[in-house]
Symmetry: C2
Subunit: 231 residues, 2 copies
DNA sequence: GGATGTGAACGACTTCACAGCG
DNA sequence: CGCTGTGAAGTCGTTCACATCC
């Protein structure tokens, strides 16, 4: 009844490279994070066992994931960290700069802008928008806050590709629609609602309340409510 | 080599209820969210098709997920929304109040405190901590900011069960250790690092940079870099 | 008719086990 | 020897199809 994309295997638009599972991709960013840390610590060769330990998964899993990047590993030695980083970044599509805008300049937006590690990974924020007239015209981290009705114009001018939705729930869908109309290609949604987007516009949603609920559930399980483990 | 909890099926501490897959639990919060919305809109009976459409999954999937809550559905009719909500909340362990503390009073903490929907779902923040002496003693949303060295004392006194880590990367692990030592049972980590926690303390991690990378990858795939689909 | 609950089929992900190489 | 790459096996999750009930 409900039609859903049945393709679980992600096939890159350019035909060449081997298959790639969604689950692997979800871990690529984590590999990247740990590899960069290893490199900072002076470790230049990393084994699947080390990476697995860092992510709390098995070494076999790591090798399977990394296999689709080409034969980067050296038997008996491990993987050269910097090459692996380059390959991962290339495969994730972040071996270039991505530009993004943020709609809704509240505390969350401020947190995002201050967050180290975005520009470090090649992301750059190029514009801010807010519906609140009193915020418009102000500057935050060298970025001017624009009125929402100038979204189309400014997004086109800056060529921004990604949009972050950090507005209250009620406004989220209309903001998303505006972003799509302005030509944005992907949306990161923090509003606790399921956005409806046309095909061709990607979506990643982060619902903070959901995360807390998952945590509560895990705790609920381990120290059960009836059966309290006092040990 | 790397040992990982192999139990993919979650078995509640109290033996009685049927099996429960992790994947289902991940969707329970979302069902809850949509059911509450349905109820607000006056819809009191919801079918698996409606729920599936809301979450963009199949109706069969919805029924499978909901099956482990007992036979709540009425053939030919659907599920009574309020009963389903109660059952989900019970199963998730959020049919009671959970108390939490936040460590690191930056913009993210402010965003969390202002976020509607936490207390609405039964979560209550009872204390804030910060290492910055200039912040200590200040008040945020009626909550006093305490120095980090009083964590053990205050967490015991308030009986807080969950801890939110919203500090810079460098401080994350030591804050987590302190939370664990103070008797916290679950940690929601926003710092971009993999926390090491003892067994018995649950962990949910939200890495914002990882989310943006996932989004970039999705966009990278759909409008490939070489092969641009202008349609 | 319309919708649930569920075994069975299917597909995806993970782990195992081992050949092969440096 | 240590570690990679990979088929094979095993596990988990989703979809299908249909008996069943209101």
């Amino acid at each position: 009844m409900n039609k859903v994309d049945p393709a679980q295997h992600v096939t890159p638009a350019n035909g060449g490279e081997p298959r790639l599972s969604r689950a692997s991709v979800a871990r690529f960013s984590l590999y990247l994070r740990h590899l960069q840390r290893f490199l900072r610590e002076g470790v230049q060769t990393v084994s699947s066992g080390q990476l697995g330990e860092a992510l709390a998964i098995t070494d076999a899993q790591v090798r399977k994931d990394l296999a689709c990047l080409g034969n980067l590993g050296h038997p008996g030695v491990g993987y050269p960290a910097s090459e692996l980083i380059a390959a991962l970044r290339h495969r994730l599509g972040i071996d270039r700069e991505w530009t993004a805008v943020v709609v809704g300049v509240g505390n969350l937006a401020r947190a995002l802008l201050r967050y180290r590690g975005f520009e470090q990974q090649g992301f750059r924020f190029v514009a801010l928008f807010d519906a609140d007239a009193s915020k418009v015209g102000q500057t935050l981290d060298d970025l001017k806050i624009h009125p929402t009705d100038r979204m189309a114009e400014i997004i086109r001018k800056t060529g921004a590709e990604l949009g972050v939705v950090a507005v209250p729930v009620e406004a989220a869908q209309s903001v998303a629609d505006a972003l799509v109309a302005a030509g944005i290609r992907g949306i990161l949604n923090f509003a606790p609602t399921a956005l409806r987007l046309p095909a061709g516009v990607s979506l990643v949603a982060v619902d903070l309340a959901v995360q807390l609920e998952q945590l509560a559930f895990l705790v609920h399980l381990t120290h059960g409510p009836e059966k309290l483990e006092t040990h």
